[in-house]
Symmetry: D2
Subunit: 374 residues, 4 copies
């Protein structure tokens, strides 16, 4: 007979793509990692009772509700997981925090940085644990990259080049919906945020930025047979200064025809360099300047058991983790943080920080001047 | 309230690497796919009660036992899943079949083809469903490749080049254990079987083979301080003839220093060609001879929602499936076959077929003559 | 008996790396292309008579001299080729122009844009033909890329990303010599100029820039046992606006550890995209958004006879042109321009233009403001 | 004034693709390498006086003739270079040898091995120097690969995989001309010979082969409106044994749709591995098993000055040699051999050896049995 673990009871609000992905994460994390809690899928909420009931059946939740406030109010729920549209995050998260729940929320926390900061403040005051979904950071290869940087293996880090480019808005006939909302929309907010998160994850705090936002498709359908003028960036670029002394650049684009997941970085140090692309998330290219003359070159390190927590998923290298595995790692980190075993991997404060940077780059672009003191 | 599905109750025998991987597969398949059954992790068996109890707790099974026969005997179990060492598969599978259970068994079915055939015969006679674990075949990219071949998109298929090379036996100080057992051991049996499965999956039946087995490391430690002479192949090569008229070659090596998962194929047709490597399992390289002059080249197709069942895991392309996701697809196919919704994806008959081919190549190598009529 | 062509008689000043490369170019161009002139290696000059005589013997020139003015004065010379250090270019080129010679000069024309403009003005006034060595532009793959852009095959061009990074200054113990001279030195001037040339070659005129120069290695040896403060950029970045409406970015770095020839670009249009790296100069990666769903991906086009003037070198594709072949193409273009068969491929005016852009980016970096009206 | 070198006077027979390529080689070798002779393009022969005169003008030869025997008879010629169709090589080469000329001949020496052996015998008896054109072997990266193998850097070499695949015969409407001649034709003779040359260059003598020739396109146009039955191989495969104890495989295909120059090898040793593709001839992929755990991977070594004779072409790495540069290296090696400075790089004996292997593989395929004692 299995030994019973204490339960951690999840209440999910929102059952779209990300809701489903989170559920995969809960299901996998429970088995892949030796977690301090058993994860129970307690209840799920959607806009109507029927939709919620369907999701409960499909995802494996014990109960369902058409009223998200019932999730908040349920004393048998420990963690509220919010995967609804961005504009709803704040109200739901603040309510959950007020009810003493730990809160897991998809990025971005809210359309505006000020709202995200308010959410982070509330969580810290209430003493609940929080997590924002930035799962690219959960990749064992990312952890390896950070360790190579922090340990000095690459020497003094001098420069950084980061990109996050996709093409889901490349078609001028795509209205863009909420993504092109002047308040909080744009490519840099939507996916440049990933590039920023990776940059700070690897090299530490950014202190100054110079931005360059470009609206390449000036007009898109308004969804009602007409057209509307677009104000947000299709492409956002930034020069960066890091506290460490390194400099760098970022680019975010949602009109990069042909790119599906060009989340890339290049890090150049005095002793070596690394490069990465999310399209090959199990590979890190590494140049060691200390290799013998005539034998130097960028090598491709394949993710394996030497790169924790890969070994939790597979005992042999070369077997490839996938996107959903990264979500399981994210869940595991959050659950351990709730148990007090480790700091929160990427809490609301970290999520708000990214939005502050996004806004600073937008401001810089508008004023055509560097923004410093970040 | 969730609508209740009929349950499919799993009994797992063996809790090592593959046991764990199967459990991941059950947990994920239940949520990723809209399966006709709810999968219940009913009971797990290992060599001792204690080990089994530990596995139950960690994997999430309802109960545990130190006696695998208790799994077979349990009327509340529908599917027996066998992930024990190869030598034990036959006894367990035959017992499970005799008890009317559906059986899921890791590859290879048994050390010898004759045993595997016996297992397939028994299953067919009993009318139970079976599944052998060949999860590379479950990749959406593999399905895409097969469709491009079968539909005629690549024209008449003329030649095939397949490889499965790794390096886990490259160190001469590695004893090899059961892997170098003269009865059923060797690189071709261990991993060449994957290359064979892929070849027939894509191009259909192989009818003739010419083999070339080489023992490159003639002596290995016997695990007791001495040495033993090695008889099995470190490298196995084969020429192939397919029923379709195409010809090809295969190579299996477990001493390919530096290769972690070089499961590769190249298919050349009159209108196009495709190539693949398992180390980049989300990519298919495709050449279309019909592209305009000066614009031709191998393109890299990234796995996406256009390639079912990728869309079950993620709504957007470029997000990368991983090894464990393939296991979930394998589980889903088996469960659907149990429900009668589709044929068994890779049943004991198919598993036995692979072993027949493995033995034919070994025979050919030993007799230095082609083996035909396969 | 061979039909005699009119001669074009070359006088070379400077016999270092680039002098040798130019000689390779003359020798090859004469045979690879059906040129309107026979190229005669008339005379070579170096600092001393002895050095020049040695070069004449090794390179195959008819005569030699220790006095470069003798080359200028020689009425039996039609083209003066200058491959001396940058600081000497202006005096030599102006003297050659004054003597009515056509002039071929390595990049950069002079340390400062004003000097380069003076050189271009003089050449135009004198009516002689000029050529600056930007041989990356002579690659058939570059010509293909430009044609795909200009013909509309890629649709409306929206964004550009260019890099030229190497690591020859990554070692802080490297003094840098003339390269770190505050007047005209720095990574952007040295190699960012290549990135600028490629950007304008492909997308047309740049109209505005925002620069970001960084000195990452603040102090280097002064070559006399001491140290000196470095003022020039180790890394230079720029945001770009093109006259066409497209926007883009560039980065130049000479401290990009591990990079030997990262001359790369990515061009994104509404109908397709192309990417390139000089380290694989025979390949163009091309994405066609019009490919069928499920079959899209970046394809690798290999340079071949469909991409002129590749066919001059080899009748079959896949045979790889090299760096020196590009020089032969450059020479051929210049010779044809002298014969009046085509415009000058990259004359002094074009060379001066690049330097104007380099200085604009430096100015922008210093003033922390966009520079427009370029 | 340049110091005069002794002349080596070239007479070229044949002015097609290869004739032109050889001329590029002579022109470049003279300048790139510090050769012991000045190379003089003395005379060129083609089928008619007019064709020959045209070639002389275009290629830069001093004189021309419509009678190849005039080249042989000319006392002012030291080296006869034969680039005519294969069937003519023997008569011309034997005549040149009889006249005491050094002979440079394109591959293959003759349609049949016996003829090639006769040519090698004659040359050795006459004491003239010979060279067969196998210029892939002249690549600095090939020399590096061989040194890594011979020096023990890769440990004991265990296995080899070689391919040479192209697609110039993939179209069933291509008659094939002399290439499909039953005597000496076929893919393995035509391009498998390159794969064999590379295999022996790297690993030393092959002692046994098992062949598998396949005619995939059974009928082709006969060039006169009808069809003819094809007997030669479109695809040839072979298992190999090397004298060193290593084993391997080869494949040659001229119907590999999409492949333009898939001349590839993989070498696996006990301490490391290397892989190569001619389509990226400036790169060697290298795995060092001695790299630290978690940092291992195949690295891409770029050809550079550390890899002689790259430095003769360019002082900086990453600048890419091309196909024609390899020809210059071939010429230089032959010229030095004539001067007695080094052994002949690839003489008629070596060329005949390759043909012996080609025929052994064909015989093995026909008899369906291993051929040993090679």
């Amino acid at each position: 007979m299995a030994v019973a673990k204490r339960e951690l009871r999840i209440g999910l609000i929102g059952t779209g793509f990300m809701g489903k992905t989170h559920t995969f994460g809960f299901a996998a994390a429970d088995r892949v990692f030796d977690l301090p809690y058993a994860l129970t899928l307690r209840a799920v909420a959607d806009r109507t009772d029927a939709l919620a009931a369907e999701a409960a059946a499909s995802f494996g939740f014990e109960s369902s509700t058409g009223d998200w406030r019932a999730i908040i109010a349920d004393p048998a729920i420990d963690v509220v997981d919010i995967t609804t549209p961005n504009a709803l995050h704040k109200e739901m998260a603040l309510a959950a925090i007020a009810a003493g729940k730990h809160v897991y929320c998809e990025k971005p926390l809210a359309p505006l940085a000020a709202d995200a900061i308010e959410m982070a403040d509330a969580a810290e005051k209430a003493g609940v644990k929080t997590q924002v979904g930035f799962n690219y950071l959960c990749n064992p290869i990312m952890l390896l990259a950070r360790e190579m940087i922090r340990s000095g293996e690459l020497g003094e880090i001098r420069s950084y080049r980061g990109v996050h480019a996709e093409d889901y808005m490349a078609d001028a006939a795509n209205s863009g919906g909420f993504r092109v909302d002047p308040a909080g929309g744009g490519a840099f907010a939507d996916i440049g945020s990933h590039a920023l998160a990776t940059a700070e994850y690897l090299l530490g705090p950014i202190t100054a930025v110079m931005g360059d936002h470009v609206t390449a498709i000036a007009e898109r359908p308004d969804g009602q047979g007409g057209a509307r003028r677009i104000e947000v960036d299709d492409i956002g670029r930034a020069f960066l200064r890091f506290e460490s002394g390194a400099s760098g650049s970022l680019e975010a684009s949602w009109i990069a025809t042909g790119q599906e997941m060009q989340h890339e970085f290049e890090v150049y140090g005095s002793k070596g360099a690394i490069t990465f692309s999310q399209e090959r998330l199990n590979e890190l290219r590494y140049f060691n300047a200390g290799d013998p003359e005539g034998r130097r070159g960028f090598r491709t390190i394949l993710s394996g058991p030497e790169h924790p927590p890969y070994g939790r998923f597979c005992v042999a290298g070369g077997h490839q983790l996938g996107f959903n595995d990264l979500k399981a790692i994210e869940v595991a980190g959050f659950v351990r943080a709730i148990a007090g075993e480790q700091p929160e991997p990427f809490n609301f404060r970290a999520g708000a920080r990214i939005m502050t940077l996004v806004e600073a780059i937008a401001t810089s672009s508008r004023t055509r001047a560097w923004v410093e003191g970040l």
